[in-house]
């Protein structure tokens, strides 16, 4: 069946539709980080308990697993919203291409299923399964958290680099879904980047909670051990992310030169292109920024005189909004660098001195690191997704061709924003309740 019935429609609220989608993603993505990293951290704690017999690690694993279940349940519903929105907001995109990338979501559905099954067994199975079987029940949760994000990111990689089909009358034909999703050169750096982001966000947020308690005198053995696990993960993931980010940027230079030009505010194709830190893109140049000659060419192509393509290589209608993308990119890089330095400091103290840092400022920095990591995470997704505009499928379909013809988008947007506010308040309250269960009660149960 051709997509002829899906001639593009005029939608006066296209921007609101995009914002509604962006809001839903911004709410869901931090929860994905917990899906990726939290099961692994819980299992590290339980593993240490099994190896050393130390009950404090069992308490940590138990308490964290309840938080994990709560966040998973919230992630289930926010993820459901996303799957509804795909069809409700972007039917043109789905009608033309969901046979190409839909497989990714099908596989994600299965891994989500696996996660849901074993998270139930794991969290309700404390005391009821033998310690070994209980630990084993947690492993599928950790695997499925990673594979689920793998499949979704495969779809995002495809949107940024659509392959595996031919276009005929606005419809994808001659479809090769496996190679479109997994043989895609744009997929791997996104996946690894997100995987490490999961540990950075989860690790710093969890550690931040205990660092907050440090300032208030809650600093027993339980708190120290819990902070060490979470912070060790984040402190290692943050410097590693710098290396991965560099790899990602080089891939973008090759695959999406216009996005790179927007990241750096490079209006004309330049040999030996400079890199600007901070500043504002005025439509032609970066004003008030700190320029480093030839650095962009070196970073992108390992050659000081390499030619970097500018925004002028495509017509103005095909360019993303430069300042949004550039500001988001600089935010991500700036916060990421700071977190990497904080992480290296922690690693140094642990490895050289075999103890935790003792400066109060260190713990204040860890408290700030959690929310900052979330900001960097969102900024990173804004970079890649707004940088993809005006395309929903890069170079193949424009976002305005994909949007629904239905009315009422502002009403839906407003309603969703209100619901998410209530949800955020409710989650915050629930986590606080969980955290306030006294340790002794927990141990006895």
């Amino acid at each position: 069946m051709s997509a002829a019935g899906f001639a593009p429609v005029v939608q006066q609220y296209l921007l609101q539709a995009r914002q509604m989608q962006a809001l839903s993603l911004a709410v869901h993505i931090p929860l994905v980080c917990f899906g990726i990293a939290f099961p692994a951290l819980v299992l590290v704690a339980e593993w240490r308990h099994l190896r050393t017999g130390d009950p404090v690690y069992r308490t940590i694993a138990r308490r964290w697993s309840k938080t994990m279940l709560t966040l998973f349940a919230v992630g289930v519903v926010t993820g459901t919203i996303l799957s509804f929105e795909l069809g409700m907001l972007w039917p043109g995109f789905m009608a033309s291409f969901s046979d190409v990338f839909g497989l990714g979501f099908a596989l994600e559905g299965f891994s989500f299923f696996l996660e849901a099954i074993f998270i139930g067994i794991y969290v309700y199975g404390w005391d009821r399964l033998s310690p070994r079987r209980h630990f084993l029940a947690g492993i599928p949760v950790a695997i499925a958290g990673v594979s689920g994000s793998l499949f979704v990111i495969a779809v995002n990689g495809w949107m940024n680099h659509p392959r595996g089909f031919r276009l005929s009358g606005g419809q994808a034909v001659d479809v090769h879904p496996w190679s479109a999703l997994f043989g895609n050169s744009y997929f791997w750096h996104e996946l690894v980047h997100m995987y490490f982001a999961g540990f950075i966000v989860t690790g710093f947020l969890v550690a931040g909670y205990y660092a907050w308690g440090y300032a208030r005198g809650r600093w027993g053995r339980y708190e120290r051990a819990a902070l060490t696990i979470a912070l060790s993960a984040a402190a290692l993931a943050a410097p590693a992310q710098v290396v991965i980010g560099d790899w990602a940027a080089r891939t973008i230079a090759k695959e999406q030169p216009v996005k790179l030009a927007a990241l750096e505010g490079l209006s004309e194709t330049t040999r030996g292109a400079p890199l600007h830190v901070l500043g504002w893109f005025d439509g032609k140049d970066v004003k008030y920024g700190i320029g480093v000659p030839k650095l962009l060419s070196i970073l992108a192509f390992h050659d000081p005189n390499a030619s970097v393509r500018g925004l002028d290589t495509v017509p103005p209608a095909d360019r993303p909004p430069v300042n949004v993308v550039r500001f988001a990119f600089q935010t991500m890089v700036g916060i990421g660098t700071a977190l990497a330095l904080l992480g290296l400091l922690f690693v140094y103290v642990r490895v050289r001195r075999r103890r935790l840092p003792q400066s109060r400022w260190f713990y204040r920095a860890v408290v700030a690191a959690g929310p900052l990591a979330v900001v960097a995470l969102i900024a990173g997704w804004v970079t890649t997704e707004v940088g993809r505009q005006p395309w929903i499928a890069y170079g193949v379909m424009r976002t305005e061709q994909a949007v629904t013809g239905a009315g009422g988008i502002p009403i839906g947007y407003g309603a969703l924003a209100g619901i998410y506010l209530v949800l955020a308040a409710a989650v915050f309250w629930a986590l606080r309740r969980l955290a306030r269960v006294p340790l002794e009660t927990e141990d006895a149960r």
């Binding site: 099994l50 309840k66 409700m88 043109g92 139930g120 994808a172 060790s232 290692l236 629930a430």
Partner: protein, 404 residues
Amino acid sequence: MLADVPVAMIIVGLAAYLVLAGADFGAGFWTLAAGRGPQADEIRAFCRHAMGPVWEANHVWLIFVFVVAWTAYPVAFASIASSLAVPLFIAAVGIVLRGSAYALRGVVTAGRTLDRVFALSSMLTPFALGTVVGGIASGRVPVGNAGGDAITSWLNPTSILVGALTVAMCAYLAAVYLAADAARLDEADLVAAFRKRALASGLVGGAVALAGLLVVRTDAPHLWDGLTRGAGRAALAVSALGGVGTIALVVRRRFEPARASGALAVVAIIAGWAIAQRPFLLPGLTTAQAAADHTTLVALLVAAAFGALVLTPSLALLFGLVLRGRLDEAPPSPAPPAQPPAHPPSLPGRGVAALAVACLLSTVGFLVLAEPGWAHAVGIASLFGCVAATFVLVMAERPGPPRP
């Protein structure tokens, strides 16, 4: 032929969603209709308890239906989702509210507001999803981007009827299951309470279904034709037999077989709808016309087969544990005695540090400096190695008693 297989998968997914998650929605309904007094609290607590470990897994069936629909029938899915955006959004809102109330209730002892939000959203979502089915079944969703009427495509006699029927079926299934659970736990009061509710909701559900046939006859004649002929008629007969049989079994307190026959009655209705509509997905659009490329359908089947291979034993394990009561609240067991360390903590040797450094150098070489794709793969593997080795170093504690 292949083009029809995803329809079968969607029907299986919908049936599983209705039979499993539907019962969870129904349990939410019964928290609202628990009445007052101490027994009401007991009923509410029991409804909540029943959902514990299985709620998330049950919910996934809806996602399964969505992904199969959009992968296999892109244009039909996009037409449905855009025309029926309003009820879908309402269902989504219901799912969010319900899910968050659920997430909170594990943590918080019952608050009245939370209970009401939970119960009302438990009715809202099945009703809205029922109106979606009604809109599709009565042929009110044309092919195209939001081609159907924003309101009447889901607020029409068939939709309202199917919505009400869905709520009734959820309540009925929940009451039967909860009666069976209560019987397993020898809770005589609760058995009596849910037995009464199962009988009442079964009768109401049957009455709504019969009334529905009359509505369908005038509102959606093509559907009526399909339901009263051949295989469609057989499916309705099975449903009627299942419904009557379940009531008989509940009367005689044979709850375990009633679970199965109750589910059968409900599943047969969905099958009947699919049969009645065959071969059309939407007016003028058959499954063969709507189906995606052959390669996509094959890929979907391969993925589903692989998924079934992994998920069937996992689901069997979960439901095995739940139905045998292995995941029930156990009486507080004493904390296990602190065992002597199986492996007394010791500092990692120099080998781990050497490995970390070697992996770091390899990362720089293969990921940062080298260009080819295979080198990047080696570089990423090295990076993981470096992080893992350093993690061991960072986590290591000095042997001996814990420092203050």
